[in-house]
Amino acid sequence: MKINRLDARLSLAHFYVAFGSILFAGLLGLLQTLVRSELITLPSWINYYQILTGHGVVMALVFTTYFIFGFFYASVAKSTGEFTNKQRKAGWIGFWLLTGGLVLAALMIALNKATVLYTFYAPLQASPFFYIALALIIIGTYFGAFAVISRYRLWKKEHPGEKTPLLAYMAVATLVLWLIATIGVVAAVLFQFLPWAFGWTDTINVALTRTLFWYFGHPLVYFWLLPAYMAWYVMVPKIIGGKVFSDQLARFSFVLFILFSIPVGFHHQLLESGIGEGWKFFQVILTFAVILPSLMTAFALFSTFEIAGRQKGGKGLFGWFKKLPWGDVRFLAPFMGMLIFIPAGAGGIINASHQLNQIVHNTIWVTGHFHITVGGTVAVTFFGISYWIIPHLKGRILTKKMNKIGIYQTVLWAVGMGIMSSAMHISGLLGNPRRTQMTSYNGHEVASSWGAYEMAHAVGGTLLVISLVLFVIVLINLAFFAPKGNEEFPIAEELNPTQQTPNWLENWKLWIGIVFALIFIAYTLPIIDIINNSPPGSSGFKYW
């Protein structure tokens, strides 16, 4: 089934903005490492924290969101058929709302009216238009979610009693997670930040804003990760000539990710006053439950690799490993993502381990952690997807030459990210804080060991930007200059197609009911406590 031209255009529009964003935000990131290592000083018309805000907002909220929707539109159109006019229109409304939000947010940051970083913690108070921009971005995603979910429902209506395509199921699961997660940030922006920034209310409940933000902030990372998992579960097996190890367990792991990624936000607030320690620990337990679907995923992927490798004649305990297509960037890039996820996941377990958090909290260790998770695992998998999805959508092919450059790009990215985030992890353990322009602290002896690591960040950052430039060059080639042809959209078949996938996996009411029950248990009492035992609120501060 070929993707309808109109749907391809919708998907491509999202990809183009995503690629432009990552290049721009990557340059901002490089500037940060150069400033922190004191290799350059910024001109007076821009400050470090503006750049930091821009880097965070554009990477975390813009690049990821655009890429994911571009990927979802293509995947759903491919696996369930073309969108109806109404659905496609909703997709475009979503695109323009996102873009409106992006332009407005960028303007506010550039004008130094929103130097609050991408977490926008109150009582630092940005211009109300910054919060409006964030709201536009989120509302935009709701239109996109409507398009995808209603296409899925239409497919179910068209195919009564049939199992839905795995790819579409996973996209819908990711969006269900997103819709439930964004309730927190929407509530904070609409009912707390906007009235306060406009001056309709004088003060804001700081503890509540932080709790609502992290209710959203943790599942946000799963919103980034699950599309990468889609590629690992469904596309990578096809690329290596294998099959989906287990359709039902793949679906089940996505359901578990929905359940255990939301009622866990307190693990970002472990060192905070105003939240009872018992509730923190309860959410730590739920946080750790997410390890279960992660273990299932790891097993499924490596089983797929082994089966495919053995079919190609791999012998012995590890002979199959050599038979994997290491020269194919469509495989190498997502594989690199999986590999990086092993230390990244371990780091996450450390961060969430209650009092262990005290050693690393708000140090640059944490920055290192999310640079290998999102910047490593997720981004490199997204690169791998881009290399075949762009030519597929444009009716061109991934040439040998571009594949080769893609391999260099992937390796360069992994090496750059390895250098940068290792240095971040190590110097974080020594106490080096995150989110700061300078770490000399008047030459204090404790801080004296950090300078060398700052230099390593700059080296890693430079490699990352070179890698990004290569990436964008290859994509421009693939989109506009590569030979015409039909690049494969890889969707693997099941290993055991006769195996029944239970209907309850597709019972969304059940899963949404359970996740709300978990949220209710984990959050109701502490939030009531935060509201009832709240201190007098805070007025806004503009310290920039």
Binding site: A207, L249, S273, L292, S303, H444
Partner: protein
Amino acid sequence: MLHMHKFEKIWMIVGIITLISFLTIVGVQAFSKAEGGEHQGAPSDMTLVDPETVTESAPFNEPGLKQIGENEYELIMVLQSYGFTPGDIEIPQGATVHIKATSLDVVHGFEIAGTTANMMVTPGHVNSMTYTFNEKGSYLILCNEYCGTGHHFMSTNLEVI
């Protein structure tokens, strides 16, 4: 029902047992008391304070280091962009210090670099923790949450003598 490969079952069971033992250790450490009876889990003080009147309310009307026992001290600290009050603190070696902190303005982070002394200081709340300084030397106290464009200047020295 779901079908799981035999090896995957073993893999999951080993994983679950590891997970439970790991969580048990974390849990015991979080809620057990230190020798002196001090709380040693994550700082989670529930005390409230009006951010507008911090400097008039006890104990923050008199920030500073106070001896409360034999080699035991209370350190009352007020944080604001971009400084710690009091600054340049001297503490005798081996002293146990009960730190109580709050913010006059935005969210700050209280960190003694390279130690486990680390907590968020949010306006409206008091946060507290206990730390024993067993080794002599200069310690760097810094703010580890962005608090404005002078954030990187927010630090002070703590000398253990």
